[in-house]
């Protein structure tokens, strides 16, 4: 019976060790991907900086800021939320953070009488909101750990068309901003319409000689602005996706590191229990030998010293068999 317990424990240790190998591998993969994801975030910075500059310059120099995507609507009836989550789990509180923030905003909207619609990005947010019966629009997923610009473009085009058609009056992006490998935060960012301060502040960039730049346009400024603003929105979505991907890897690395640590702890305590069980079994066996010997000595005191250890073991085996 003691041997049986020992075997069960050995099995459990083996399974925990196998799990530990998996979590350790996932931790290392996530750690290496953080670096790559961070580089991608960095690589997207020049483009988004430049496009912001161009939008500002155009607004300042061209002056035509009557694009519908720039106009804040007086009455906000429907708000569109775009929560960016992961496609897979096993990343600690990453998905929960984004989903909770989105849900809280929706509840606040509903109590203040506004309608909402969700455009979920990532399988986890889609299944979460679908299961709870929220109003969903088109879902986007399958790229959460390595988002491409094409994916961002699809999302951008979709929300712009939702806004342009009048189905929604505001689009809010919910994602996890990557600050550093050690810290990320869930943020809500209004995406459409663009905020005024995004387009203002362009000074037409006075040249080094102090002269204000007088732009030539090809074709006219409003046409450029019309094609430029969707690109700008796509760039914002892309930046959000990249931030979310980097955060996902950081969260996963942390979650898997603590899982690996837990597995180690578990293996240690299980081995201790197993060793004690084995020790117990040995002790019991010795006790049985001694007990057997004493029982024999009770029969005839003279023969006790003549019984060798081998015989005693046979006896103890017999007695164990009997007790089983």
């Amino acid at each position: 019976m003691a041997g049986g317990q020992e075997r069960i424990l050995r099995g459990r240790i083996r399974s925990v060790q196998a799990t530990k190998k998996i979590t350790r591998a996932m931790e290392l993969i996530a750690a290496s991907r953080i670096v790559k994801a961070q580089q991608r975030v960095q690589a997207a910075v020049p483009y988004s900086e430049q496009i912001t500059e161009v939008v500002r310059d155009l607004a300042a120099a061209g002056g035509s800021t009557d694009s519908p995507l720039l106009a804040t609507r007086d009455k906000i009836v429907t708000v569109c939320y775009v929560p960016v989550s992961a496609d897979r789990g096993l990343c600690g509180g990453y998905n929960a953070g984004v989903l909770r923030a989105t849900e809280a905003e929706i509840k606040a909207d509903v109590t203040s009488g506004r309608d909402y619609v969700i455009v979920p990005v990532g399988r986890k947010s889609e299944s979460y909101f679908r299961f709870r019966g929220y109003q969903l629009d088109q879902a986007f997923n399958g790229f959460s750990d390595q988002p491409s610009y094409a994916a961002a473009k699809q999302i951008g085009e979709h929300v712009v068309s939702l806004y342009a058609s009048g189905a929604v009056d505001k689009v809010v992006l919910v994602y996890t901003r990557f600050i550093s490998a050690g810290s990320q935060e869930v943020v809500l960012r209004p995406l459409v319409p663009l905020e005024r301060d995004v387009v203002s502040g362009g000074d037409g960039k006075p040249g080094e000689d102090g002269l204000s730049a007088d732009y030539e346009f090809e074709p006219d400024p409003s046409t450029i602005l019309e094609t430029l603003i969707p690109r700008y929105i796509e760039a914002r979505v892309y930046a959000a996706l990249l931030n979310a991907a980097a955060s996902e890897h950081a969260f996963r690395q942390r979650a898997m590191k603590s899982a690996t640590d837990n597995a180690e702890e578990l293996i240690k305590s299980l081995s201790r229990i197993m060793n004690r069980a084995r020790q117990d079994a040995i002790t019991t066996e010795i006790m049985e030998i001694v007990g057997g010997a004493e029982a024999l000595s009770g029969d005839s005191t003279k023969h006790v010293r003549l019984i060798d250890v081998g015989a005693a073991r046979d006896m103890s085996n017999l007695s164990t068999g009997a007790s089983l």
Binding site: P46, Y149, G207, D214, F217, E218, P219, T223, Y238
Partner: protein, 142 residues
């Protein structure tokens, strides 16, 4: 005088910076404006760019070929920035593959003409031209 002065040129896409450095001349194609060449000291300029074969004349005399698949070009403070959704360096494009793509799309458009196919063909021409085959102007025909 034109080829002596250098200016700063940047070609950036959301995914990477394709080129950042000094150049003497940049040729690209704008929406409705045909091909435009920029030299140092160009007036501030902002335009939408259609898919084309953009050429950057480097300071050392060599030419960098880039297939730019639409975007914007801004000239300000003597700096030329090309912002594009997607772009490829000519050296990264497989010429044979690009030529096959052009042929396939041309064949397809002969049967049914649609805007999407025409846009694709414009891109394919830009790629082929940047890879060093065909002419950079053929994209304008469509």
């Amino acid at each position: 005088m034109a080829d002596s002065a250098a200016m700063r040129v940047e070609v950036v896409s959301p995914e990477r910076v394709l080129f950042s450095g000094e150049a003497t001349q940049v040729i690209t194609r704008t929406l409705g404006g045909g091909e435009v060449a920029f030299l140092a000291g160009h007036a501030p300029f902002l335009a939408a760019v259609i898919p084309n074969h953009t050429r950057v004349y480097l300071v050392d005399g060599s030419v960098l070929d880039i297939a730019v698949h639409g975007g914007f070009v801004e000239v300000s403070n003597g700096k030329v920035s090309i912002l594009t959704d997607d772009a490829e360096l000519g050296s990264e494009i497989d010429k044979a593959h690009a030529a096959a793509e052009v042929a396939r799309l041309e064949e397809q458009l002969r049967h049914e003409h649609d805007a999407k196919g025409a846009a694709e063909l414009g891109k394919a021409h830009a790629r082929l031209a940047a890879a060093g085959g065909g002419s950079g102007t053929s994209a304008a025909a469509h």
